[in-house]
């Protein structure tokens, strides 16, 4: 018998002594558990954020250690959410860190059967070239009545409802200046 174990360490007695009558709290912790420290306690910094899923706008606290997100929790300061997060919001650390997340640019050539790797800056330059070429090829100056159109119907876009306002602003500004009008997002859906 473990010499450290006494009558007082009997489970039932522990439960009564600690007030943990259901045996779900301190009465049932092991030494291992007692030695654990939450990731939130050892974080280098805590950054206030907003849940990226639905439009309730729950407050999040992002815990960062060594330049990496280690945990995301509800922000008790938020008057909207008061510290709560739903299953999606609670899982958002995995949104950021999940191993399946694609971290590299990829390219599929016409008729290609698989992805190829590509340098990001090469990809962005290729997109810029295609943007300019498609715009040129599909440009419409006037309609059949001679009224100005000054647009391209050859470039379209879908997305924005998961993005920041500032991002949507640059997208709308750039596309409109380029004459690309078929810009849409989930708000239409």
């Amino acid at each position: 018998m473990d010499p450290k174990k006494t009558f007082l360490s009997w489970p039932v007695v522990r439960q009564v002594r600690s007030g943990d009558f259901l045996g779900r709290g301190p009465a049932v912790t092991s030494a291992h558990t007692r030695e654990l420290t939450p990731r939130t306690a050892t974080a280098d910094k805590v950054v206030q954020s907003v849940c990226p899923y639905c439009a309730v706008g729950c407050g999040q606290r992002v815990f960062v250690k060594d330049g990496r997100v280690v945990q995301i929790e509800g922000d008790p300061d938020s008057p909207v959410s008061r510290g709560r997060l739903c299953p999606k919001g609670s899982a958002s650390e995995q949104l950021v860190n999940n191993p399946g997340r694609q971290r590299k640019a990829l390219y599929r050539r016409p008729g290609g059967t698989d992805w190829e790797s590509i340098e990001l800056s090469t990809a962005v330059e290729m997109v810029a070239q295609r943007f300019v070429e498609s715009r040129r090829r599909t440009w419409q100056d006037h309609d059949e009545h001679g009224r100005p159109l000054r647009r391209t119907m050859g470039i379209a876009s879908l997305g924005g409802a998961t993005l920041d306002n500032e991002e949507n602003y640059l997208i709308k500004k750039l596309f409109t200046a380029a004459g690309a009008i078929q810009i849409e997002n989930q708000a239409r859906i």
Binding site: V62, V69, K88, L95, V124, A128, A156, G160, I183
Partner: protein, 898 residues
């Protein structure tokens, strides 16, 4: 959101709030703990129903009948809030004698144009006291605009422009009868319009018993008035219909009659599903509007700057839209800076023009016609999330190039390799000529910026870490793309490139090339450009000028960066503030949390009751005050009356609370703005097993249909073949997943919690079709066949409609076919076709017709044969359910399209 806890009754309809917006639901729970009654109206029994006082199952798509009956109940029993209705709504306003109701024309309003399939709205106008009806050219809509036909308005989804206010009515020379007795008064028209929306009609249309209706009607009316308020809550269960905007209008009429608008615990709460879906409407990545709900110019309507100004708002009109010129000039100055001058109409000619509907579905069809070369997908997965997934994937296979910016390899990025059409043999990878760029995106923790949540509140999220690998924010990607495009065109002398080369496109960046999001926010907010304050941020949109001395990218957001402070980042803890919490985030406009809150006080400016005190007139101080930022000119006394003919905000009286409306009134009857009728009227969904019990007109005659071979429909009502697709399906979301799954099906926790696509069916339907709980079922619509695990549950209630049992099937739509996600499955949205609401061009996804049989679906060619065999058995042709006018002796089937 928090304000829901002030409600005495909450009706949740078209939303499963407890599961889809669970954290917001705490405020409903809070209200209930304080004694509020909560009622959930929904085809399915969900956790919202389980925690409500009552669940009322409804047949999908029949909500206007239920709410219309509520209107009738309120009117018949004189339960409306009389002082509020007379003073604050247009109940007393007289409508033109030319107006004819759907009761007169068997389901059509006056002004229907058979050829265009839409309405001319002239006959819906208010009568005018100078002898002429106000459709006299020049008296509505500005000097040059005149009356724009519903057809072009629909094409440009003009309904979206009312995201921040009602349409223009220049004159307010309206006739009013405050006794509400004039037969042409809005009040009497309303009575007549809903006369047949009886509890029995509710039973016969919605499948809701008379007792349940009575419970709802009593709950809502007993909890409204001076002392009490009722709130409505909805989500896409209301919007995704061919008359979705009218569903919400019906609720607005109920709330105006009961005096619940602009008051604490009242209103209509829209629960939106994406972090910044409100923001992406305000600063729109949408085809038809510019930031702040300014119209995109349309060829033929807005060819010149004067045409445009006349159309967006003129100085004689009342309310804040009279200053639309200042908003438009400030926007053009923000975009084209010094190049924008008075001489060149502020570069108005740099804006591209619309010439029809260019929404996402029209664009998809243009792809199929090889008119679109390049496509950007920015955090969106149309192969799974848009209606008619098959059409979406086929369309993308026609592109020359596709850029997918996402966290994960979503189905829209890999359709050329592992999509359902590859499996069925319809497409071959080698034959798909689309060049695909997958560019990984930065997460919210890896960039700074603001989201606008569902109640118009901007909240800043701060960057916590650097994005990994090649991951980039959209801010950086688009800044960089713009920079490179401008470089490629730098030597161009072509006039068409001036808008790009003259664009203000210079933002400070950090050492990683990330633009400073706060600098963009400052541009959105706007600045003084000249005078003593040159360079200083504007503090309110009322400071905007039309002379080029201010800029500002989105007038409704002006103030978010007042005094150079990022108010979206305001973070005073909620527990240190009152419930309104004005020092947390910033809500547009002007940090106002409840719109039209002047209506929370009586015409004299006193709170309607102590219990519902919110904003009131402080006579001593000579200003409005209260718990919120008053939605009124701060020092305009309740007794203020404008001189006749006064335009702009000063044209509204001290007791006209609806300051964004051209007459300052809440509109029970909409003389302008709604394209499919001034009053909501029940029509059946595009495909429905039920005939419209109210009118010979089956479906919304102004809806947008696309008669094409790849977009067939089930016959409806009593038409032959309707029994081939005898069941109603409705799509929905689960707590553990997010729309098309791009942000949830790649996460281990969430995938484990909801691993597999399933369908919910009642025990009765399971018995009828031999479906087994946990087994497989194949669901067939006129577009596609998919398979799902079966969940037999009493949560689905068979409804009896005119003696016939209607079964509804629930389908969560989060899964898609691909090989990269942790969990995958057939996509429910493949079952959907494309038919749209005419006001906003949103598709009907909440009600469709299908069959369900036990077992897995076949694969390959056999799958296509199964779908074709059903189509043939039903006799579906391209015109099936696509006729806009039905049942009228003089109507001839529309034979366009094919």
């Amino acid at each position: 959101m928090q304000d829901l806890s002030n409600a005495d009754c909450i009706v949740i309809q078209g939303s499963n709030m407890a599961e889809c917006h669970p954290v917001a639901y705490q405020w409903v729970t809070e209200a209930r703990l304080k004694g509020a009654r909560v009622i959930h109206v929904d085809p399915r029994f969900t956790r919202t129903s389980a925690t409500a006082d009552k669940h009322i199952p409804i047949r999908a798509g029949s909500d206007v009948v239920l709410l219309g009956a509520l209107i009738k109940y309120i009117l018949d029993n004189e339960l409306y809030f009389k002082e509020y209705v007379v003073a604050y709504t247009n109940a007393a306003t007289i409508v033109s004698e030319k107006f004819q109701d759907t009761e007169d024309l068997d389901g059509l309003f006056s002004g229907y144009d058979d050829e265009k399939g839409s309405y001319s709205q002239e006959t819906w106008a208010y009568a005018s006291n100078d002898g002429a009806d106000d459709e006299t050219p020049g008296t509505i809509g500005g000097p040059a605009a005149g009356h724009e036909h519903g057809h072009t308005k629909s094409e440009r989804a003009a309904g979206d422009e009312h995201g921040s206010g009602g349409p223009a009515l220049e004159h307010a020379k309206v006739l009013r009868d405050e006794t509400l007795q004039d037969p042409n008064s809005v009040f009497q028209i309303l009575k007549k319009h809903y006369a047949r929306y009886t509890p029995e009609m509710v039973a016969d249309t919605c499948g809701i018993g008379v007792d349940d209706f009575e419970y709802l009607a009593r709950s809502v009316t007993e909890n409204s008035g001076r002392e009490r308020t009722t709130a409505f809550v909805y989500a896409v269960g209301w919007t995704q219909h061919t008359l979705g905007a009218q569903f919400i209008r019906t609720a607005a009429i109920v709330q105006l009659l009961l005096g619940n608008m602009g008051r604490p615990g009242g209103g209509i709460m829209a629960l939106r599903g994406h972090a910044s879906i409100q923001g992406s409407t305000d600063i729109p990545t949408l085809y038809n509007i510019l930031p702040g709900y300014l119209a995109m110019p349309v060829a033929g309507l807005h060819d010149t700057w004067d045409d445009y100004l006349g159309a967006i708002g003129n100085k004689e009109q009342k309310g804040f839209w009279a200053n639309a010129d200042t908003y438009a000039v400030s926007l053009l100055k923000a975009w084209w800076g010094k190049a924008a001058t008075a001489e060149n109409d502020w570069c108005f000619d740099y804006l591209p023009r619309l010439s029809g509907a260019h929404g996402t579905y029209q664009t998809t069809m243009a792809m199929l016609d090889d008119q679109v070369e390049g496509y950007f997908l920015l955090g969106q997965n149309p192969a799974v999330g848009s209606a008619h997934g098959r059409m979406q994937r086929q369309a993308m296979s026609h592109l020359k190039w596709l850029v997918v910016r996402d966290f994960n390899m979503i189905e829209s990025a890999t359709f050329w390799k592992d999509g359902p059409e590859i499996a069925s043999g319809e497409l071959k990878t080698e034959d798909i000529g689309t060049e695909v760029f997958f560019l990984p995106a930065a997460a919210h923790t890896e960039k700074s910026g603001s989201f606008t949540q569902t109640q118009r509140m901007l909240q800043w999220h701060h960057q916590a870490v650097e994005p990994p690998g090649d991951c980039q924010s959209e801010l950086q990607f688009f800044y960089e793309l713009g920079r490179r495009v401008r470089e490629l065109l730098a030597d161009s002398t072509d006039e068409r490139d001036r808008p790009l080369l003259d664009l203000t496109w210079d933002y400070p960046t950090d050492e990683h090339g990330e633009p400073d999001a706060e600098a963009v926010l400052a541009e959105v907010n706007g600045r003084h450009l000249t005078g003593d304050k040159a360079g200083e941020p504007l503090s309110s949109y009322t400071e905007m000028k039309a002379d080029g001395s201010t800029d500002g990218g989105c007038w409704i957001y002006t103030g978010v960066y007042a005094d150079g402070v990022n108010h979206a980042a305001a973070r005073k803890p909620g527990r240190e503030q009152d419930l309104t919490a004005l020092d947390w985030g910033w809500a547009w406009p002007a940090n106002r949390r409840i719109l039209y809150n002047r209506a929370s006080a009586d015409p004299e400016g006193n709170p309607w009751s102590e219990r519902k005190r919110y904003v009131w007139w402080d006579a001593e101080a000579g200003k409005w005050t209260g718990h919120d930022v008053p939605d009124f000119v701060p020092d305009k006394a309740p007794s203020y009356r404008p001189e006749p003919g006064t335009g702009g905000p000063a044209g509204l009286a001290g007791d006209d609370p609806f300051v964004m409306q051209a007459d300052g009134k809440g509109w029970l009857f909409a003389p302008k703005g709604m394209l499919d009728g001034p009053l909501p009227t029940h029509y059946e969904p595009q495909e429905s097993p039920v005939s419209n019990p109210l009118y010979a007109q089956q479906s919304n005659p102004a809806r947008k249909v696309f008669p094409r071979k790849d977009n067939l429909w089930s016959p409806s009502g009593d038409a032959p073949g309707a029994d081939v697709y005898p069941y109603v399906f409705t799509t929905y979301r689960l707590t553990e997943h997010h729309t098309a799954g791009g942000m949830s099906r790649w996460l281990p926790y969430l995938s484990e919690l909801q691993p597999e696509f399933f369908c919910e069916v009642s025990p009765e339907l399971a018995a009828e079709r031999g479906l087994e709980n946990g087994g497989w079922a194949t669901i067939v619509s006129a577009r596609a066949a998919i398979e799902a695990r079966v969940m037999v549950t009493e949560r689905m209630t068979p409804l009896v409609v005119r003696g016939r049992t209607i079964h509804q099937i629930g389908l969560p739509y989060h899964w898609g076919v691909g090989s990269n996600a942790i969990v995958s499955g057939d996509a429910a949205n493949d079952l959907l076709g494309v038919a749209l609401d005419p006001n906003v061009q949103i598709q009907e996804s909440k009600a469709g017709s299908c069959d369900i049989v036990p077992g897995r679906r076949p694969a390959g060619d056999e799958l296509l044969r199964l779908v074709a065999e059903y189509q043939s058995r039903a006799g579906s042709t391209v015109m099936t359910s696509n006729e806009l006018r039905t049942g009228h002796p003089e109507s001839t089937p529309d034979t366009r399209g094919g």
